[in-house]
Symmetry: C2
Amino acid sequence: MSLCFLLSCRAGILLAFVMAVVVSATPSAAASAAEPAAVRTLRHVVLFKFKDSSTPADVARIVEAFRGLPQRIPVIKGFEWGTNVSPEGKAEGFTHCFFVSFATEADRDAYLPHPAHKEFVGIVGPHVDKVCVVDYWTQP
Amino acid sequence: MSLCFLLSCRAGILLAFVMAVVVSATPSAAASAAEPAAVRTLRHVVLFKFKDSSTPADVARIVEAFRGLPQRIPVIKGFEWGTNVSPEGKAEGFTHCFFVSFATEADRDAYLPHPAHKEFVGIVGPHVDKVCVVDYWTQP
C-alpha cells in the first residue's frame, strides 16, 4: 500500500495547491455586497473640448499620445477613453473623455509631473478650448 | 490495488474539476492585450456642482437617491461615485462625479426616462448649480 499512499499524498498536495490558487484568485464575495469594497480606486476623469481650429488629425494625434501614456507611466493602473455620445445635450461642449485609474494618491501625484505626462500636456495644450479634471475615490 | 486505483481516480477527477473552474474563471489574456476588448461598455459620466444654498444634508440625500437607482433600474450594469479630490484646480466647480455603466444604448435610453430616474431628477434638480453629462463607449 506504500505506492497507493504516495499516489494519494501527491494528488492531495497538488489538489491543495490548486485550491489555494483558486481561493486567492477569487474576488471576495463580501467585498462586492453590502460591505464597501476593500480595494478603492482613484479615478482621474479628464474632459476636453478642442478648439474649432484643431483638425481631426490634430485630435487623432492627441488621442494617440494620451493612449500611449499607460505604457510609459507604470503607475497608471487603468485607462480607457471615448467620445461623447450622450443624447441629453448637457456635455457643455466636451467631446472627449479620458478615464485614468490609480491605486494610490502617491501614484496620481507621480503621474502629474511625470516627463511623459508633461510631454502630453505640451502636445494637447495648444488645442484645448476647455478642460475639466475631476479625481475621485470610488465609492459604491 | 483496487482501493489505490479508486483513490487516485477520485482525486484525479476532483483535480480536473477544480482546474476547469480555474480556467473558466480566468479572464482571457487575448482580450486585454493588443486586441480591442470584445465587450465594450457605455459609460455615463455625470458631474454636479450644487448650489451654495444646498446644505450638506441636501447633498447627502441626493447622493443616497442616486445610489439607490441601480436597485430600482435593472439596466444599470455598473455604478460608482465619489467627490472631487483633484489637486489640479481644473474641476470647474464640480464636486461630485457619478459613473454609471450600461451594456447597450437601448439600456441607457431606457434609463433616462425611467420613473425612478425621473424621480431622482426631481430630487436633485432644485440643488443643481451646474451639471455636465458625457456618455462614451469604452475604448482601450
